[in-house]
Each structure stands twice: as structure tokens, then as C-alpha cells.
């Protein structure tokens, strides 16, 4: 069993240090690269915080859609294959909701400021 602070606490504290203490001192192309670095750390913090809950919900939805068991990767392969073959499509109950929820969960980690994501947060159907 590993100790504390947790990985996400560490990535957050490093990102905050770079953001508040270092960024004001850096200019030019290095300032751009530093922002990329801070974004990467913020992304890791978000993933460490949100990933487990998202994966559990995704697995449950997938298991219902493809009626099999397996790892998240296996379940996704199964769904991908069924969409490719035409077995499953937008008429299949639950598919659209599943794809939307999975994608929104991804954006919450990857790019919560993406304009289309923010627009869709306001458009949640129910």
C-alpha cells in the first residue's frame, strides 16, 4: 500500500507551483511550453480524480449494450465491432446515451473548457 499525499494531490500542487510561482517569470516560446506542461499536469489530476467513477459507469453501460463480460478494453472492442458490422446503430436503445456519456466523461478529463463540451453541459437531456 502506497502512502499519502495521493498522486492527484501531488500533480495538483506541482501544477499550482508552476502556474503561480514560475509562469510569471517565463516569457516567449518557453512560456507557451510551460502552459502546455501545466495543462498536462491538470489533465492528470482530473483523470486521477474522475477516472474510476467514469470507468465503472461506462463498464455497466457497455455490459448492457453488448451483453458480455470483460475488461473495459474488451467491452469497447466488442461495441466497436458491432457498430462496424451494423449489429448496433443509433436505433439501438441506449447506444446514443452511452456514447454521449462516455464522450462527455472524456472531455471532462481532456478538455473541460472545450466550447462544444460547455455547450452540451447546458443541454443535458434530463
Amino acid at each position: 500500500m502506497q502512502d499519502e499525499p495521493t498522486p492527484s494531490e501531488l500533480t495538483k500542487v506541482v501544477a499550482d507551483f508552476l502556474r503561480h510561482d514560475i509562469a510569471p517569470l517565463i516569457s516567449g516560446h518557453n512560456a507557451f511550453k510551460l502552459r502546455v506542461a501545466i495543462n498536462a499536469l491538470d489533465l492528470v489530476t482530473r483523470q486521477l480524480t474522475l477516472e474510476q467513477g467514469g470507468d465503472v459507469a461506462e463498464s455497466a453501460r457497455l455490459a448492457a449494450l453488448v451483453a458480455t463480460q470483460g475488461s473495459l478494453l474488451d467491452l469497447n472492442r466488442s461495441l466497436a465491432d458491432r457498430i462496424a458490422s451494423g449489429d448496433v446503430d443509433l436505433q439501438t436503445p441506449g447506444l446514443s446515451e452511452h456514447l454521449w456519456q462516455t464522450t462527455m466523461d472524456k472531455l471532462a478529463v481532456d478538455q473541460p473548457n472545450y466550447a462544444a463540451y460547455k455547450r452540451e453541459l447546458g443541454n443535458k437531456s434530463d
Binding site: Q111, Y114, A116
Partner: protein
């Protein structure tokens, strides 16, 4: 030192030039580099840009038109009145600078968020969608018999190519599968018109001034195909840079784009344009995944390249908004 070679090179075709200022590298990737410098001349310095393959670089990647072809296309565009930098010199073996070309530097802004936000572009912004339509028509009207040999593409080939690339990653993406099915079901087939297609005509590849578009850049993905491809790509949501209700680069409506295109004498097929917008959205997503692969394999192990892998999801939400809109 590149400065010495550039000095010799410039002397060979720019009468009166006395040298060059120290070149600064603007960008450098695996397949090409861009340098900025001035040609020193008693009548006034001439701003210039060198675009070349790095020394020792091998064959261009298969989708690229090649730097020599880029130079030809830019010259054709310039001569036909399409806003383009003037090509000053195409590099030859005697220049000892690898392959590529030198073009006159065009002043203006390329950064999309600045163009969409800064006061100096406020008057130009509402005019840009229509202007881009007219420019696209100019590109598509370039005489085919003067074009260099380019990749010949069509919608069916593009679907196959993008599917092959996506499957090569071995990573299941149900939203991409949905898009591939949609594209196959809506493949419009060979187009009546087959023209030069810029291949990366979008906000981000334009130099813009307060007076409007001053130059179209980055012809490296040029090929021949259905011209509606360029009108679709320019509307891909990622290239609206946050202004998601203005499809054309965040500037304006499709109607404006189409009006500019038709005012130049060419016809728009809106259904084909929508096909190519969906295709373009998927293509950008697959490109993001591909860059992630190249980050792992090298030679570019940069942070920026790694992070692009996490932009694939933006194309998934854009595909869902197009193909399975909610509410």
C-alpha cells in the same frame, strides 16, 4: 551556418542584395523547417521566409505534396490572384540548403484567438467567411494542366484511407466506428468536378490583416479531389476556435461562405460539403491519435505532440453533435 548558405543563395538571384540578417527558426518538425530572415538590400530590406526539409531528411510522408510542389502551387495561386506569399526562389542542389523554397514574408496575424478577439480585426471579421469562399473558388479554379503531379483522391478512397489508419492503432473507438458507418452510408461517390484541393484550408493557415485575408499558407496536403472537401474542412468545429456558432473558422455562416464561392462563378453542393465536414472531423480525430503514436515512436517526443493525443475526444463530441444531436 545556415546564414552563410543563405547569403550565397540570395546573391545568386537577388540583384543588389548585400547579405541576410541572422535567420531565426520559427518552427521545425520532422519533415520541414521554417526560418525567418531579411534580405539586406540598399533599396530596403526584404522580409523573407525559408521553408525547407531538414538536412538529411528522406522521402516526404505519403500524404504530403512535397516542398517543390508547394512552391509551384503557391506561384500558381499568386499569379491567379489568390492571396499568397510570392515565391522568390526554389532551392536547388547548388544552394546546399536541402529542398524547399524562399518566399516573401507577408505581414499579418496567424493566431486564431487573436484574429477572433483583437480590436484591429473587428471590421474585417464579418467579411471573412465570404472572402474565404471567394478564395476557395480561386484555388479550385487553378488550371489543371498547370498543376504538378498530385495525389488523386475521392470520397470513397478517403473513407478507406481513414479507416485503415484508425484501425492501425488497434484502439477501439465506438464514436469513430459510428462516423465511418455514416460516411459509408452517405458516400456521395465521384464528383462531377475534380479540381485542385488545398487540403488544409482553414483558420490557422491564413495570414489576416485589418483589411482581410492576406495569404493562404501550408499547401503541403494539396491533392486533386471533390472541391467541396475544402468547404467542409474549413467548417470543422476545431477550426472555429471557440466560436462554435460561426461554422466558417469562427467568422461567419456557411451561407456567407457559399455566397462568396458562387459569386466567383463556381457551384456549391451543400450535401457534399456536409459529408466532407463529417469526414474532416473524423480525419482530425484520427490525426490526433496518429500524432500520439508518433510521440511514442519518435523522433519527436515533445510534450506538445503527446498532448495532441488528448484532443481526439474533441472530435468525438463534434461527431456526436453532427450525427446524434441531443435535444
Amino acid at each position: 551556418m545556415i546564414e552563410a548558405e543563405l547569403t550565397r543563395c540570395v546573391a545568386s538571384w537577388c540583384p543588389g542584395a548585400t547579405g541576410v540578417t541572422v535567420p531565426a527558426k520559427l518552427s521545425g518538425g520532422a519533415s520541414q523547417e521554417t526560418w525567418t530572415f531579411d534580405i539586406v538590400h540598399p533599396d530596403g530590406n526584404i522580409g523573407a521566409i525559408l521553408r525547407r526539409a531538414p538536412k538529411g531528411y528522406g522521402a516526404a510522408p505519403s500524404r504530403a505534396a512535397g516542398l517543390d510542389n508547394e512552391a509551384i502551387l503557391m506561384r500558381l495561386a499568386f499569379e491567379a490572384g489568390v492571396p499568397s506569399p510570392r515565391v522568390l526562389h526554389v532551392l536547388g542542389p547548388e544552394d546546399d540548403l536541402s529542398t524547399g523554397f524562399i518566399m516573401q514574408r507577408v505581414e499579418g496575424e496567424t493566431i486564431p484567438r487573436k484574429i477572433l478577439r483583437d480590436e484591429q480585426f473587428a471590421e474585417a471579421r464579418p467579411l471573412l467567411a465570404r472572402q474565404l469562399g471567394t478564395i476557395a473558388a480561386g484555388i479550385h479554379g487553378l488550371p489543371r494542366d498547370k498543376l504538378p503531379v498530385l495525389r488523386e483522391m475521392n470520397s470513397t478512397k478517403e473513407i478507406a484511407e481513414i479507416e485503415r489508419e484508425y484501425r492501425s492503432f488497434g484502439w477501439p473507438r465506438p464514436v469513430f466506428e459510428l462516423a465511418l458507418r455514416w460516411l459509408r452510408d452517405h458516400d456521395p461517390g465521384p464528383s462531377e468536378q475534380v479540381t485542385l484541393v488545398h487540403g488544409d484550408f482553414r483558420h490557422g493557415n491564413l495570414i489576416i490583416g485589418p483589411d482581410g485575408v492576406r495569404a493562404v499558407l501550408d499547401w503541403e496536403l494539396a491533392h486533386t479531389s471533390d472541391p467541396m472537401e475544402d468547404l467542409g474542412w474549413v467548417c470543422v468545429n476545431s477550426w472555429r476556435f471557440g466560436e462554435i456558432d460561426k461554422p466558417v473558422g469562427g467568422f461567419g455562416s456557411r451561407e456567407d461562405l457559399f455566397a462568396g464561392y458562387e459569386a466567383a462563378g463556381r457551384k456549391v453542393d451543400p450535401a457534399r460539403v456536409m459529408f466532407w465536414e463529417v469526414m474532416g472531423t473524423l480525419r482530425w480525430g484520427v490525426m490526433c491519435c496518429g500524432m500520439m503514436q508518433r510521440f511514442r515512436l519518435g523522433p519527436d517526443h515533445s510534450m506538445e505532440r503527446a498532448l495532441i493525443g488528448r484532443r481526439a475526444s474533441e472530435t468525438e463530441i463534434d461527431l456526436l453533435r453532427l450525427l446524434a444531436p441531443r435535444a
